[in-house]
């Protein structure tokens, strides 16, 4: 039985919400049960935003992930908020381009990836979220980079092909950085 509860958190505008949707879509394409649930309070651009994603072989019970197997932290405030929630033995992916503090937990696996820096090398920091998703795929295998790539045009229906290609490159580089 496979179950991955994921929390993705960062600044509004970093694409944490759409990264979550993409992850759920990828899981769906790979035949898994999935759910996605956003924090829909007073979120705004520049504030913090987060979402829950579940990818599982069984039916998803609660879409609200309170004890995540994996947390993806895209900015500094998210580390303090979400590090304590990770399940013991779980995974914490940190965007080390923006998160300067060190995680304190010793009972979890930490993968630091310079998402912004890598994204900039690919072409734009806008796709730092894709680097993080690539890192997630590389570190967990819960979904494949290929699966996320296939999900891209389903989620971003009006995206230009060259933009999609950059996203795929970012995914691959993220996966490589996590290994």
């Amino acid at each position: 039985m496979m179950y991955q509860g994921i929390r993705i958190s960062g600044f509004g505008g970093q694409g944490v919400i759409s990264a979550g949707i993409l992850l759920a879509q990828a899981g769906l394409l790979e035949g898994k049960n999935v759910s996605w649930f956003p924090a829909y309070g007073a979120e705004m651009r520049g504030g913090t935003a987060n979402c829950s994603v579940v990818i599982a072989s069984d039916e998803v019970s609660s879409p609200v992930v309170s004890r995540p197997d994996t947390v993806i932290v895209m900015n500094e405030p998210s580390l303090a908020k979400f590090e304590p929630l990770v399940k013991p033995g779980g995974l914490l992916i940190i965007n080390s381009s923006l998160v300067k503090s060190q995680p304190t937990r010793k009972d979890i696996r930490v993968v630091a990836v310079a998402c912004n820096k890598i994204a900039e090398e690919v072409g734009t920091t806008k796709i730092a979220n894709m680097v993080a998703l690539g890192a997630f795929a590389g570190a967990t295998g819960a979904v494949s980079v290929d699966g996320i790539a296939k999900a891209l045009p389903k989620v971003f229906k009006r995206a230009k092909p060259e933009m999609l290609q950059m996203n795929v490159t970012a995914l691959k580089m993220g996966a490589a950085a996590a290994k």
Partner: protein, 402 residues
């Protein structure tokens, strides 16, 4: 029909309604249901329908009254405070025997409350909600898939019995995304049978009147009795529920909507530990699956109600089993339990069963006069208390009470 697509609950609800033939929507924004009117605003015109953002909830529901009176499939949606504002109009529609569909994507309350998921509007939904003597059909989805597929059922039931029908959802079901498959053919409104009561061009036929008002001596009661008979028939014929692993279960968890899917996760954990636990989920909250719940009494040893409210839903469960089986309550008013928390309650309830097996068998006759706040107590504690109470009562009879 066809492939599974990833969709938000609110959007699935709106798309489901359109595919079911809805061609009129009026509403007023409120979180967490805003995606419904947003989706309707661009999607309905494509289908030749009408979307109106009204100036208020009161205006929106009265537009529904007008639209429904012409026989068109009309819908409105809102969240808790907005639904309260619409209750007068819903009562008028019920009084005028108008079929329409509405959804309440419930948020925390009372008052403005918060915008998180809750189940505090249970009583308002299943007891009518507005003034006067009436019912509405209440369907409680627990997935995005059901959010998308229930609007069609609601329209059909509403038209069959000429009354309002609603979906009772919550912030989680509205906001979450999940795969959905629309399991029905698109309804072409032009091909729906003509309604012999609907208003419109009256040339060449007798005039028709749609109203919720009758001042003739004794007439209103006749109308209400006719309506009552229809309600009885609905209670006979239209009950829907889901029972999972209830056969041979010691404990059956009873929950609806979001609570039921969280409970399902908890039950999985419990069964992995060897506990015999089942799930009973009413899908229609009115009509309520009374008989089916009562049927659990001889089989399971106890029921555990899980609801995201103080204890509204549990009242209907207790009425249904009528004292024949112990009913525990795990109440989370404006809180969202985790599967682990529900699991802890399941374990607690199961311990109660083991601790007092004899008392459980003798329970039905004793449990006639529940006293106030005993509900949350486990079976064992309740039995001990009862014994003490009986002793005290004896003493009271002999020695007088101070």
């Amino acid at each position: 029909m066809g492939e599974k697509i990833l969709m938000k609950g609110n959007e699935a609800l709106a798309e489901g309604a359109i595919r079911a033939g809805c061609r009129f929507f009026s509403g007023y924004p409120i979180t967490p249901q805003n995606e419904v009117p947003e989706y309707m605003s661009w999607r309905l015109p494509d289908e030749g329908g009408t979307f109106i953002q009204a100036e208020s909830e009161v205006a929106a529901i009265n537009m529904i009254y007008g639209a429904a009176a012409t026989g068109i499939r009309a819908m409105t949606s809102s969240s808790s405070p907005g639904i309260s504002l619409k209750q007068e109009g819903i009562s008028y529609c019920a009084g005028a025997d108008l079929p329409f569909f509405y959804a309440n994507v419930v948020r925390g309350g009372p008052g403005l409350g918060n915008i998180a998921a809750a189940q505090g509007d249970y009583n308002q939904s299943v007891r009518g909600g507005g003034h006067g003597d009436y019912r509405v059909i209440v369907m409680a989805p627990n997935s995005v898939d059901e959010m998308g597929n229930f609007p069609k059922l609601c329209f059909e039931l509403a038209e069959k019995y000429r009354m309002p029908a609603m979906v009772l959802a919550d912030g989680i079901l509205g906001q979450m995304m999940e795969p959905i498959e629309f399991k029905f053919e698109r309804v072409d409104p032009a091909k729906l049978p003509a309604k012999d009561w609907a208003l419109g061009n009256s040339a060449g036929r007798a005039k028709r009147v749609v109203k919720s008002y009758d001042l003739r001596e004794g007439e209103l009661e006749k109308i209400n009795l006719r309506r009552m008979a229809a309600y009885r028939k609905i209670e006979q014929d239209e009950v829907r529920f889901e029972a999972k692993n209830c056969e041979g279960a010691d404990l059956v968890v009873v929950a609806y909507g979001t609570s039921s899917r969280i409970a399902a996760g908890a039950i999985k954990l419990a069964r992995d530990k060897g506990l015999k636990v089942g799930l009973f989920r009413p899908i229609t909250l009115w009509p309520f699956p009374k008989k089916q719940l009562a049927g659990l009494a001889g089989k399971a040893k106890k029921l555990l109600v899980v609801e995201m409210s103080m204890g509204q839903f549990v009242d209907d469960v207790r009425l249904a089993v009528n004292g024949a089986i112990a009913v525990d309550l795990y109440a989370r008013p404006a809180g969202i339990p985790s599967a682990e928390e529900v699991m802890a309650e399941i374990e607690k309830a199961c311990q109660g069963i083991k601790a007092a097996p004899a008392a459980t068998a003798a329970a039905p006759k004793q449990r006639g006069r529940p006293k106030g706040s005993k509900n949350k107590k486990t079976k064992a504690k309740r039995t001990v208390r009862k014994r003490a109470a009986r002793k005290q009562a004896k003493r009271g009879r002999k020695g007088g009470r101070r």
